[in-house]
Structures are given as structure tokens and as C-alpha cells.
Amino acid sequence: MIAARVPSDLRLALGRTIVGQEGVIEALLLALLANGHVLLEGPPGLAKTLACRALAAALEGDFKRIQFTPDLLPSDIVGTRIFDQRESAFATVLGPIFANVVLADEINRAPAKVQSALLEAMQERQVTIGPQSYALPDPFVVMATMNPLDSEGTYALPIAQMDRFLMKVRVGYPSREEELGILERFAVTDTQPVRAVATLDDVRAWRAQAHAVHIDEKLKRYIVELVARTRDAGAVSVSSETAAPLRVAELIDYGASPRATLALAFLARGRALLDGRDFALPDDVRAVANHALRHRIGFNYRLAVEGVSPERVIDAIVASVPAP
């Protein structure tokens, strides 16, 4: 039942290019299995773009990279209609969004107008140019990167678009051993090109398997309770670096949407499949909770004032809901 090529070939192919960053590699695979889009956030130089490129190269599909800049236009992404003088008619030129894997690099450097061009593509998996809608290829995955350190020349992503990302992954610095590995591998040679190890049919088959992974009734209730707790945290509290424990409810303006419920279920199924199981466990849900919730909860200014990270708040919420 379990496709051996997901954890072995594809993961190995990515591991040959990226040193460490196991969490990022797993997140990319989860997004692929769960048919969702992924937002990678981290400082420059942490192989975010490289990871996306490596995954695209490991699949036998079309890959397009869009470098988001302040002067980008929606038509630069989705395409446009141009007048063909020889035919005396308008012809449609499809944009770079028409690919299996789309890397939206530095997505927060384009204004909201451009980012909104992605909304229809990410949710409906189609693009409307002029009077006509065009279906995007299947599979279609948007992998976006953003740098949290620069504030100048960047724009906040619209809430509606953030919600469309199945998961947001924080990319951290490598350990000393991993950095030593990076030094040994890339200091003398260039990046190893990744060979394609899986076809698009493989991806579709894996998705079907992930979709068939069983989620027990107890686990469904657990997921619903977790998401509900983001909207009504009750007496849940989190320790603060500057003051007494803070009530989580005072740090949250709005909780996660029902998309978060679906995202937790999809990601838990994907993780179970990666682990070789055809049923999901509470551990799967807990492992993906931060990925699915951190960009869907509206935190207010007090979070930054009190020096509390969103992850700590989510961990407190998760800890407050007993696993089945």
C-alpha cells in the first residue's frame, strides 16, 4: 500500500542537495502529498530557494521561478492577452504560473495587488485571463519564500492569501555539524544537480494514497478541538520573558479558520504516509500543528511586546488539549 519512493528516492534526492534542514524537506514532501502550497520563511542563505528548486528537479514536471519585485504586475504572473496583427485578433499568452511547481521567490516584495493574482490560482487551481478561465496543470504547487528580517520594500501578505498556504514553515539556522557538512560539500564544488526520481503520475498516486489514510473519529474531534481552542483559548496561558504568565486569549485577535482544520487533517495524513502507516495518530497532528496554524492565527501587538513567539502560543494551545 505504501509507496516506497516517497520516503526513499525523493527524500534522498533532496538530501543529496540540501544539508540538514530535515524539517524543510519533510514539509515540502507533505505539501506535495497533501496537494497544498507551502510558504517558507527564514533569513537569507538557508537554502529555501535551493530546497524548492531541488524538489522541482526531482520531479519530472514543469518548474517556473517568479522573482517577486515591487514593480511586478499581475499579468507577469498569470499571463495576458496581446493583439496579433497578422491574425487581427487577441491571443492569450500564458504566464509562468502554468507549471507544476512554481517558486514564488521573496513573495512579500510584491504589493498586495500582485499577490492577489495568486488567490484564484492557489484556491481554484485555475486562472482567468480576459473572458476565459484556464485550468492549471495537475499537480500544481506554489512554493513561496519570504525573508522576515527586511521590512523596507516589503508588503504584508493579505490574510486571504496566507490562509491559502497549506503550511508555513520556519527555516532555522543549521547546527554546527550541518554547517560543517555544507562547508565540505559546497566549498569546493558547485551545487549537485538533482536527477528526476519521480514522475507526476507517482505524485498523483501518492496523493490518492494519502487521501485514503484513515483518520479515526477521536482524532477528528481532537483536530476540531485544537482549532476551536485558537478561537476561544479560555484559561490557557503561556509564560512570558518579561512578565507573569500571559493569557493566550489576550494575545489573539482572531483564531484559525476551518481551512486550518482541513490542513491539520491533510498534513496528518501525509505524515502518516511518510511514516509508512495507513492511519493517522495524535502524534501526526501535533507534529504538524505549528505548520498549519502559525499563519492562520491573528496575533496582536502584545505578542511582540511580551517577547512571545507564535510557536510558543501554539504549543501552549496544543498542550491544553488532551490527546485522545
Binding site: 484513515h214 479515526d216 477521536k218 482524532l219 495507513d278 492511519f279 493517522a280 495518530l281 495524535p282 502524534d283 501535533r286 488539549v321 488532551p322 490527546a323 485522545p324
Partner: protein, 297 residues
């Protein structure tokens, strides 16, 4: 049939233990135990007839609930219901738990003491209290004899002896009068033993015994609900608190043993796998329990 009813009782006992153990994992109550006793309303119940066991606890403190009270394992009785009552007042708290049971077969039945774990408010030490035990003498009835597979011969014999019963009944009236007379003179209860809060070192039930109980339940009740209860019991055995996940439990020192890890993983599967796989998952869990029992021998 007997095996299934025994399993039901153990299952109920495991369920009762669940609430207590979750609280135990948090903290013990601080109590001044004044009396703690186990009694029955019928010392010689008839087979198949409903009778009651009562656990009564008096403590000096005013508390809203009593935690960490474990009922005895009633393996030879069918559990029919359970009612708890907690009354708090200026003079403390009276806790009373009444269990409706019936005995499927005749013969003597030993009921083990109920236990309570708490911090003794007198000296601040964690202790375990025991009630008295009970010995019931269940009278076999014709129907129970027939139900337990006796030949029709016994039924015929029973009906032939019914006439004699009237004679015995007359003698019993005389004996009852004597007993009542003796009771008035010596008011010490026949079945309710003196309830002294005696802190004693508890005879720990071994992990192997817990695993054997779990196997009895799971082998007899091959359902998801039974698997979940057994999973909870085994988790508590390794010190897991309520709400933990398998990852948390496997990280505990008590779970380092490979046989135990295999058992925990098998039970997790039986609790969460899909329905078509449930039978196989429970079979694997039973096999893992047997391996654990063998290894613990």
C-alpha cells in the same frame, strides 16, 4: 459467556481506574481518613439476583470529590451499575459508592478490599488505605444451575425437593429469630468489618498482572472501545499522564524496553486504525501482550 462477563467486569474496573489514575498522575488529595469500609446488603445472595456492594469513606476535610479510590477487581461478578454520592458538611465529607452486581454462579466469592491513595493530613505522608475484604456465599438457584450447563436431572431433582424447602423455610424462621436476637445483643455487623484507617504498605500489583488483565479484556472484547481502555491502562502502567501522545509515552524511561515499545505501538494501532484492519490490529496487540507477559515472567 463467563469469560466475557469476567472481561466486562475487568473492563469496568480498568475504566474506574482510568479516572483515578489520571488524577493520581497530577497530585494526591490531602485527607484525614476517619473510616473506610466495604459492605454488602446480602451476605448470601442468590445466583443471578441483584445485590449491592457499598464502599463508604468518611474524611474530615470538605472535598467535592474523592480521587484515587480504586474499586476491587470483581472478576467473578457481573457489574450492573455504579452510583456515587459525595456529601460535604461542617463535619467533613461522606463518600458512598454503591455497585449493583449479580453473581452468575453459586459458591463462595472473595471480594478484595477497595484501596484509597492520599496524603495523610495527620503526618503529611502519602499512604494507601484498605477497606475490609468480603466473602460472599452465593446460593445456586435452579435457573442458575440450568444456565451453567447442568443436566435436566438436576432440575427434576430440584422440583422434587421443593416440598422439603417449605420445611426448611420453617426452620429458617426459627434460626433467623435466633440470629436477630444475637445481633441485638452484639451489634457488631456481620459483614461490615471494622473500618480503621490503617496506613499499610500496598502490595503492588505487578506489571505482569496488569498485562494479564489487559489480555483477558482484549481477547474477550475485540472492539475498538476495549482496545482504547486497554491502551489507557497500559499507558498508566508506564506512568503516562492523560492527554499524552504515543511519542510522549515512548520517551518515558519505563518505555525503553523493546517488548513494551512493541506493545505500546500495537495498542496505538488498534485504537486508531481503520475498521477493516481492527481485527488484525487487536490480534497483534494480544500477541504483543502475550510477549510482554512471557518476558515479564
Amino acid at each position: 459467556m463467563v469469560r466475557r462477563s469476567a472481561a466486562r467486569v475487568i473492563l469496568a474496573a480498568l475504566l474506574c481506574g482510568a479516572a483515578a489514575a489520571s488524577a493520581r498522575a497530577q497530585t494526591l488529595q490531602r485527607l484525614t481518613v476517619e473510616s473506610f469500609a466495604l459492605s454488602t446488603d446480602q451476605g448470601t445472595p442468590k445466583a443471578g439476583a441483584v445485590f449491592h456492594l457499598t464502599v463508604a469513606l468518611n474524611v474530615r476535610e470538605r472535598v467535592s470529590s474523592i480521587e484515587n479510590l480504586d474499586l476491587p477487581m470483581l472478576a467473578q461478578l457481573d457489574l450492573l451499575g455504579d452510583e456515587r454520592q459525595t456529601v460535604s458538611g461542617p463535619r467533613g465529607t461522606q463518600y458512598r459508592e454503591t455497585i449493583a452486581v449479580s453473581a452468575p454462579n453459586g459458591g463462595p466469592i472473595a471480594v478484595a478490599p477497595a484501596t484509597l491513595q492520599a496524603i495523610d493530613a495527620r503526618d503529611g505522608k502519602a499512604k494507601q488505605w484498605y477497606t475490609n475484604g468480603l466473602t460472599l456465599h452465593v446460593v445456586a438457584t435452579a435457573s442458575s444451575v440450568l444456565q451453567t450447563g447442568a443436566q435436566p436431572f438436576f432440575a427434576a431433582l430440584w422440583f422434587a425437593l421443593r416440598a422439603l424447602l417449605w420445611l426448611i423455610a420453617a426452620i429458617s424462621v426459627v434460626l433467623l429469630a435466633v440470629v436477630l436476637f444475637r445481633r441485638r445483643r452484639a451489634p457488631a455487623p456481620l459483614l461490615v468489618a471494622a473500618a480503621h484507617p490503617m496506613p499499610v504498605t500496598p502490595p503492588e500489583r505487578s506489571r505482569r498482572q496488569h498485562a494479564e488483565d489487559a489480555l483477558t479484556v482484549l481477547a474477550a472484547e475485540r472492539t475498538r472501545a476495549a482496545a482504547v481502555v486497554v491502551r489507557g491502562a497500559i499507558w498508566r502502567m508506564v506512568g503516562a499522564a492523560e492527554g499524552e501522545t504515543l511519542g510522549d509515552v515512548l520517551g518515558r524511561p519505563q518505555s525503553k524496553d523493546l517488548t513494551m515499545r512493541g506493545l505500546l505501538i500495537a495498542l496505538e494501532r488498534s485504537a486508531f486504525t481503520y475498521d477493516d484492519d481492527l481485527s488484525g490490529a487487536i490480534e497483534d496487540a494480544c500477541a504483543a501482550l502475550r510477549r510482554y507477559i512471557d518476558a515479564a515472567a
